[in-house]
């Protein structure tokens, strides 16, 4: 939250920054929507395009629970494995904090997500934060790196007191 000087940039550059923030919010929302459609088995082509097209080719997905997975082929295996276990998922992904780098082609974003999942037939609450990197290509923003810090995965009938918080990766 460093103080920013608006006066060094033109009004058009400042408007571009606001548009970039809106585009990254839209991208992360689309990630959640398409992830949920896939995990709910509503889309036969998933996780292929359009879902994997949201990522840069060398993108990384990592979490404190699932480890680190690099490159779209590895992400495809990771997500396909989730779909084998889950029959329902909703990623309620909210509260963006987005910072666009001075270059205008790199950005970071933080979100909270509250997930309702059916895993092995059982209802699960999953609470996590995202701390992600984005890159701007000629045709728009792409996900470069997702870091998901899972706080708890709690059976609906038990709650999270025994598990939360799981050990976190550094931001």
């Amino acid at each position: 939250m460093a103080a920013r000087s608006f006066s060094e940039r033109t009004v058009e550059q400042r408007l571009q920054r606001l548009e970039d923030i809106a585009s990254i919010r839209y991208l992360k929302h689309t990630y959640a929507i398409l992830m949920d459609a896939g995990l709910c088995h509503e889309n036969e082509a998933w996780p292929d395009a359009p879902f994997l097209a949201l990522f840069a080719p060398d993108a990384v997905w990592e979490s404190n629970v699932h480890g680190r997975h690099e490159g779209v082929a590895a992400l495809r295996d990771l997500f396909t494995g989730w779909a084998a276990r889950l029959t329902f998922a909703k990623h309620h992904t909210i509260a963006p904090s987005i910072d666009v780098a001075p270059s205008g082609v790199e950005a970071t974003g933080h979100w909270y997500t509250w997930e309702t999942i059916t895993s092995g037939g059982a209802p699960i609450w999953l609470a996590a934060t995202y701390n992600d990197d984005f890159v701007k290509r000629d045709d728009g923003w792409r996900i470069q790196h997702i870091r998901s810090n899972i706080q708890f995965r709690a059976p609906y009938h038990e709650g999270w007191a025994a598990e939360a918080p799981l050990p976190q990766m550094g931001e």
Binding site: A3, V11, L18, H110, Y112, W114, G159, W160, A161, P165
Partner: protein
Amino acid sequence: MAQTLEQRVLLLEEINAIDRLKQEYARTLDRYDTGEAFAALFTPDGVLDIGPMGRYEGRDAIAGFFNGVRDTLSFFLHYTMAHAVDVDLEANTARGTWYMWEPATRNDEAYLVAITYDDEFRKVGGRWLFTLSRSTYHFMCPYDKGWVEQRLPPD
């Protein structure tokens, strides 16, 4: 009064900056940063009014409150959403409301908390800070009991 294009862009930037500050408030709490780091989000005369959990005036009191919170609350996540922000560009002040949904662990028991915030801000040296964060607690209840019989703990 007609606004220039520059003023219209500035208003959007300020609304973004204030929600960004409110998210920093949530993240600072949820990382269990120091009370001093949390208090630095307030002006020196800022007030933290958290209803049943007390009213704290000035950075030292705010820091002291947060440094002691872990004794009873060993875990929480502040899902802070749906902002409505009004900015006075001439006065460098603003007000904002948010909803907040919080899974927590209180005295080793899972809790759910629902709050709305009604906060006030001042821009000092190019940076927005809280002058007042006011929480209204709608419920703070054991997860396994829900909010119907008792919305707030008796203690």
